[in-house]
Symmetry: C2
Subunit: 511 residues, 2 copies
């Protein structure tokens, strides 16, 4: 390639690097807002975030980027660029095209409204008062709707909601999601019925034995160590803090997770630590040489969830893992679990029971929580339902799908932070992540036949290396559906995940 | 005033607001780097900070600012603008003129080098290895020297070092500092000799009784409450974290301090909490309506230190305060201090003893530590001493002024973070702060005659209100020397501070 195209490409990457660095700095301010910021700081913070969003938008829409892209893509030597370079160019162009269509004022306005809506949501949730939340959510939804309509044009999606999904799960559509969620729903409902009517039922009371936060913290550090997410050494690239809603944030050498410690639900911090730890090791094991390049990011939120839910559930709730870890847990908790048998413990942490709260849901009902949210978002953007009607429709769906009665909106449609944060279109990624994880595990079964025995032996290393090689280190080189196909050789399919669930739960429940 | 000048002024303030918001966001990233960041994050963080510095520099040198300033200042109605508006314009112009003269590459390069130098300093200090620190400090000094030479031209100061002082203490000069530090030094040395030869000597061993970190933390929260620095309520605008070197950072509604807890030096966290708390309440009580305006910032670092050292020493080490607080401390610490008499305690926390470490120094020797640093900085910029020679010259000065022998550079010239952070010219502000605090207290004595009795009664409120009215709420409306003159009616003078010290220590030491 001649100097011309190489230097243009370098210039583009330099501009991208600044955008990525800015975003990673903004992420720290978000993390701080959720974990450390004094309460009175909220107004100043939302102003800072809006300003950084404005700067980010200006950097992303820099006219120079457009000129450089055109120059490179029309260059006679464009064809001889390699896959990574072409993918970078594709991703830079996609981002540039989308951002230039979004007016700066809309972007800044949305950022400001998000901060207000999150703050209002927290207060409204604490007060179980949807009326307080409603006007701010309506304002935010209006802005997000406008964004969706603009992005629909650029992304050439069928509907505005498709454009929202595409933000988190590139190339995924409402239609495809409808189809696969239908299969998922049927599979899950059938399995749920089997579990509910099985003669063998778990005893969850052992999970309610009280455990001090300090001990839970120690357990969390051990679990992080197990998956190779170092949070304590002098060369650590991670840390664990406490928030009501656990999350992961960060980039390469600084990736942070949060969890919550409930003294009377010690399993909650165990599984949220494993879940977020699964996200964290994905971010930490992106290819080092791709840092600050578009290919050096995760492929999608669905692929991210495949990693977190693999670590949390497929590994973290397995008989094999607890064969290894229960003795350690018993030691760490003193006398608390002295009388608990391995099988009873594993059944308890996998108890299938329809519930109201998504983040505490078991693997079988989890997908149903997601499908409800997907349905509502879809209908919201299609104007078949209004923000005002959300609580009622939510409660009806919960009764229909899960046969539970929602008593108040704080345990209903206000339970999650996503809508308050403007993350419309994100929810499908959770269920897609489960589906992807099923496909990945089917392939892992072939490649490392004794991976379960390795876990029994307390060894996560080879499994992690497999994930790094197949998923993490590939970054954003492929769209999620392509990535899955490249790794497994198969198209998106719900079957492996349903068959994993059926195998696991038939053994647990004895049907 | 016509719309023209008003709208131009508004536009200028809007631009300033963005710069201030960016700086306050950057401050959070610095805070995070010192308190929470996983160790491996340092490279990414220094890149983020350099990029924000670049953006900040671009915003500060926006050509539009220059045009607006010219338009307004040449406007026939300029004369009818009020004091606040004129001061804002003066400060905006000063900042703009200075920043436009500093090349962007120098600013960014300096930011990157600062991050590296701080990191190297930490490691070198731990390893007691100046040779490791030296090359990075030399690189940083070279950049700061260049900055000083450029700023000298714009600020029209006599020397490059004067330009550095002016950053932290506007309009203060090397010449004036030489003069007042000479008086200070003589006063302090005379007082030191009296204390050393006095028959009545304190028993500092009571301060070495071990005290758990958790208890020290509780004491810190109580002290913060006493001065009205709320760090615990749901409407709090502050927080206390832990770092080796305590500091304060933040802006209006989000002002954070750090302290350190040494189990065998419990007084250390008490006084660093009071010191930083003094800084914090200054920032928190700037005039709300001036937020994001140049006048809505502290007047200078010297005035800042006058506040922190007033709270730490004049209040926090007074007989009056401990009359009130010692019983509380005794209660909080169980049996630890059961046998300690008030007078003995107050004498112990005011023990005058030449030492090697500035931040643990008493009020009498503290100024000497500063004068040594000032002398070295001054000579460094005048090329009378090199970075290479610093440790040796440092050790000689410590022997000369304080008669102490520095064993290694970690307790010598590497003890402070300032030079590693690029804060050349900052040190004089500490001693000037003491001098200002002396003048302020002389006036406080006139205005609130019973202020000491109020402290004995556990009441800091009226004193704080006096400081808010006279100092905090005036923000950056005046340069420090003007501010002191407006409040006290007097020119800068070392006498009130020396007389405060002589009164206090003659009573303590009985001479």
């Amino acid at each position: 390639m001649t100097g011309n195209i190489v230097s243009g490409y370098k210039k583009l990457l330099e501009k991208t690097k600044n955008i990525v660095a800015l975003n990673s700095a903004t992420a720290i301010l978000h993390w701080d807002m959720e974990t450390k910021m004094p309460p009175r700081g909220i107004k100043l913070r939302s102003l800072q975030l809006a300003m950084l969003r404005r700067i980010g938008h200006q950097m992303s829409t820099d006219h120079q980027i457009g000129l450089l892209l055109e120059e490179i893509m029309k260059h006679p030597e464009y064809g001889s660029m390699d896959t990574v370079q072409k993918r970078n160019l594709y991703l830079i162009k996609k981002h540039y095209d989308e951002q230039t269509k979004l007016p700066e004022e809309l972007v800044v306005e949305t950022s400001k409204q998000e901060a207000i809506t999150i703050d209002t949501w927290k207060k409204a949730k604490a007060a179980k008062n949807f009326a307080k939340f409603k006007p701010e959510l309506e304002k935010l939804f209006k802005l997000k709707k406008k964004e969706a309509e603009i992005l629909m044009e650029v992304k050439e999606t069928a509907t505005p909601y498709d454009a929202m999904i595409d933000i988190y799960e590139p190339k995924m559509t409402t239609e495809a999601t409808n189809k696969i969620f239908k299969e998922l729903r049927e599979g899950l409902l059938a399995l749920l019925r089997k579990c509910e009517t099985a003669p063998k039922q778990p005893n969850p009371s052992i999970l309610k034995r009280p455990l001090a936060t300090e001990t839970q913290r120690k357990i969390g550090n051990l679990l992080a160590d197990f998956i190779g997410y170092d949070t304590t050494s002098t060369t650590s690239g991670g840390r664990i803090d406490e928030t009501e809603h656990p999350f992961t944030t960060g980039y390469y050498d600084d990736v942070r997770i949060t969890t919550h410690y409930y003294p009377k639900m010690f399993a909650s911090s165990i599984f949220s630590t494993l879940h977020e730890g699964g996200h964290a090791i994905y971010e930490q094991n992106l290819k080092q040489e791709w840092m600050f390049q578009p290919v050096g990011e995760a492929s999608s939120m669905g692929i991210h969830e495949s990693q977190s839910r693999f670590v949390e559930n497929i590994v973290g709730r397995s008989h094999e893992f607890w064969t290894y870890f229960l003795p350690k847990l018993k030691m760490l908790t003193g006398n608390m679990l002295y009388d608990v048998e391995l099988n009873d413990f594993v059944h308890a942490i996998n108890m299938v029971t329809p519930s109201k709260i998504r983040i505490e849901a078991d693997e079988v009902t989890y997908g149903l929580h997601i499908i409800i949210r997907f349905t509502l978002e879809r209908d919201l953007f299609a104007e078949k339902v209004t923000i005002d009607e959300l609580p009622q429709v939510w409660n009806e769906k919960y009764l229909e799908y899960l046969a539970v009665t929602v008593e108040n909106d704080s345990e209903g449609m206000m339970q999650d932070t996503h809508w308050a944060s403007g993350y419309f279109g994100y929810f499908p990624a959770y269920a897609l992540g489960n589906i992807y994880s099923g496909q990945l595990v089917a392939k892992l079964d072939e490649d490392i036949v004794d991976w379960k025995e390795q876990i029994t032996g307390g060894n996560f290393r080879a499994i992690k290396e497999w994930m790094i090689k197949n998923v993490h280190s590939r970054g954003n080189l492929y769209n999620p559906s392509d990535l899955i196909k490249i790794i497994t050789g198969k198209e998106l399919s719900v079957d492996p995940y349903l068959s994993y669930l059926n195998n696991k739960y038939s053994r647990l429940y004895g049907f």
